[in-house]
Amino acid sequence: MFGDYSIGDLGSIFVMQGFAGLILFSVYVLMALGLAIIFGQMGVINMAHGEFMILGAYVTWMTSNLFQSYLPGLFSGYFFLAMILAFLASGALGMLVEWVLIRHLYKRPLDTLLATWGLSLMLQQAYRSIFGAREVGVELPQWMLGSLKVTDSIEVPINGVFVMGLTVLITIVVAYVMYKSRWGRQVRAVVQNRIMAGAVGINTAKVDRLTFALGCGIAGVAGSAFTMIGSTGPTSGQLYIVDTFLVVVFGGAASLLGTIASAFSISQTQSTLEFFTSGSMAKVLTLLAVVGILMLRPQGLFALKVRK
């Protein structure tokens, strides 16, 4: 399948497809970061994670509409506010869900899977009732639409670079919060030994709730980024949930570095393959490769050998 292209062409194709994959990569990373916190750290399988992302996308869409109608002068900057709102909205919903549902199920991971799937169905229907069944698209500010010409054959879309930069920033913040801050230590303490953590005075219920909310909030930001590559419908989130889980599992569930590396390899494989074959075959091949590798190395790319 590479036969018709020269080496130079191939190089350009890989770079261009690579940048085309950047937004996908960013969405994967942001989704997976949230999930890595919830699944990797808390052991909760949140099948409604895609719906938290879509909530962020809808919030972004509403913000852009508001700015268009009432603050057209500030439209070029709406995206920043939209992302913050998306984070808050999804985070708040996450907090509510944790309180109503998740906290009863920490000892039954497979059951969280079923319960959150039920939640995702309800959220989908809620979106459909509120926003309608039709997909909505977000209009991007002018400055995000162009592309940077790097060489004669390579052009890089600005929104891709923007989302990418943002993802890097969020990743650094999350890594800092989880590994350097006092709160991150509390989270990890609760994960490793809930009873002991409670005994030394950590408010485990509060830590759980905030952790879950943080994961959901990041999914909301992923939703904001998502509006740049696709239109948003009630069921758009469902399409990403399995991919995201695979990203997290593939990376080794408890490792942030692994999550990023795996999001990168999966999204780049997929978008590069997309150039050579149909979109669906690219997806099939990518998923097959991931499942195949997971069968050979079930602990994921990055995992510690622990003494149990």
């Binding site: 549902l101 199920l105 497979l110 059951d111 079923l114 319960a115 039920g118 939640l119 169905l121 229907q125």
Partner: protein
């Protein structure tokens, strides 16, 4: 303790009640259209039954049962489609004698893997063996490496996603998103008219009871007890000299084969097969049938399936927007409040009352511990 290898007395009563319900009451009370709906629901009951063995007893939650349902269904549908695509029926095509969707996709000869599906014997063998072997491969790859629980669930989901995308993408070979439609005859016998539907219904109920008896046999064998033991204390079983992986593979394969039989019956009964029964969404929905019925109850699986589907049909007919709320709420309610489903409610609230009613009339005959500790077990996890 019972010496019977299939049932004890109270279970036997339960099976007989279900038999009377399915064989006598429903056919007498329902018109052919409604009976055919029940027949469609029952095809999912096979899947739910398999999940009782694999999830309820074995603790292996597969979110990809649609894969096996689909594989069984597609095997059957391929045979029926070939029969419906005789040269005579398809003479207006540019290549007569091949399925219509192949012709639309500019395929000019029957692909090699379709050839053996001219034979009904091969097809029936394929309905069992293709999903069975596929489950064997997945199961061996995962369980031999000690992958289980949530990881296994996610992988099976990915498999469901892969197969759906593949079927939709390769429409020249599979009929794509529309699936295989317009299935007509089975060895010359028209499967579409009402009387054929009724015959198929009774055939299906017969098959269902065979599967129920197989499930009962497994449950009452030592293998059934080992599955229960494994669910809580996998290491203890392993260090009692059992290969835990082999038992899990067995349970997973049984679940897959039951699902495949359901899929094949679906193709016969409903007259088409499409990727919308293969993917993640239908696969998880099949899990909820089992959960509602009670993940540890063989008969509960049948009732749960019928109940959820009945609710789905009536709700989505009259209040389509309520259905997803209802289904979602059902998931949550079952998990939070009734982890053992209908069977659990029956056992905890109804059965004791009946027992009290009986024992208040009769002198107390036997006391002590019940012999159905397996059914009383706590939910997995």
């Amino acid at each position: 303790m019972t010496d019977n290898r299939f049932t004890n007395r109270s279970e036997l009563i339960g099976i007989l009640v279900l038999a009377v319900f399915l064989v006598v009451i429903l056919p007498l009370c329902l018109d052919v259209f409604r009976l055919n709906l029940v027949a469609k629901y029952l095809t999912y009951a096979f899947v739910a039954l398999g999940l009782v063995i694999c999830w309820g007893y074995g603790g292996i939650l597969s979110l990809g049962q649609g894969v096996f349902f689909g594989l069984g269904g597609y095997c059957m549908a391929m045979f029926l489609k070939l029969e419906a695509s005789s040269v005579e029926n398809t003479k207006i095509q540019s290549t007569p004698g091949i399925p219509d969707f192949m012709d639309w996709n500019q395929i000019t000869s029957l692909p090699l893997f379709w050839q053996p599906f001219h034979s009904l014997t091969f097809t029936i063998a394929a309905v069992i063996l293709v999903p069975g072997l596929f489950a064997l491969v997945i199961g061996a790859a995962m369980f031999k490496r000690r992958v289980g629980g949530t990881y296994f669930a996610i992988i099976t989901q990915a498999v469901a996603a892969i197969l759906t995308i593949l079927i939709v993408g390769q429409q020249g070979y599979t009929g794509g998103i529309n699936g295989m439609t317009d299935l007509r005859t089975l060895k010359g016998w028209d499967i579409r008219p009402d009387h054929a539907k009724v015959v198929l219904y009774f055939f299906e109920v017969g098959l269902l009871f065979i599967c129920i008896l197989i499930a009962q046999f497994i449950r009452h064998s030592k293998l059934g007890r080992i599955l229960v033991a494994m669910r809580d204390q996998e290491d203890r079983v392993r260090f009692s000299g059992y290969s835990v992986a082999n038992f899990k593979i067995f349970a997973f394969c049984v679940g897959a084969i039951f699902a495949a039989i359901g899929g094949a019956m679906f193709a016969l009964q409903v007259g088409f097969m499409s990727p919308s029964f293969v993917g993640i969404v239908p696969s998880i929905e099949m899990v909820i049938y089992t959960a509602v019925g009670g993940r540890l109850s063989i008969l509960g699986a049948v009732y749960g399936t019928m109940l959820v589907n009945f609710a789905k049909t009536s709700l989505s007919e009259s209040f389509p927007e309520l259905w997803l709320f209802g289904l979602g709420g059902l998931f949550i309610a079952v998990v939070l409040a009734f982890p053992n489903g209908l069977a659990g409610i029956w056992q905890d609230h109804v059965q004791p009352r009946i027992d009290r009613l009986i024992s208040s009339r009769k002198p107390k005959s036997e006391s002590g511990w019940t012999d159905n500790s397996v059914a009383d077990g706590a939910p997995a996890e």
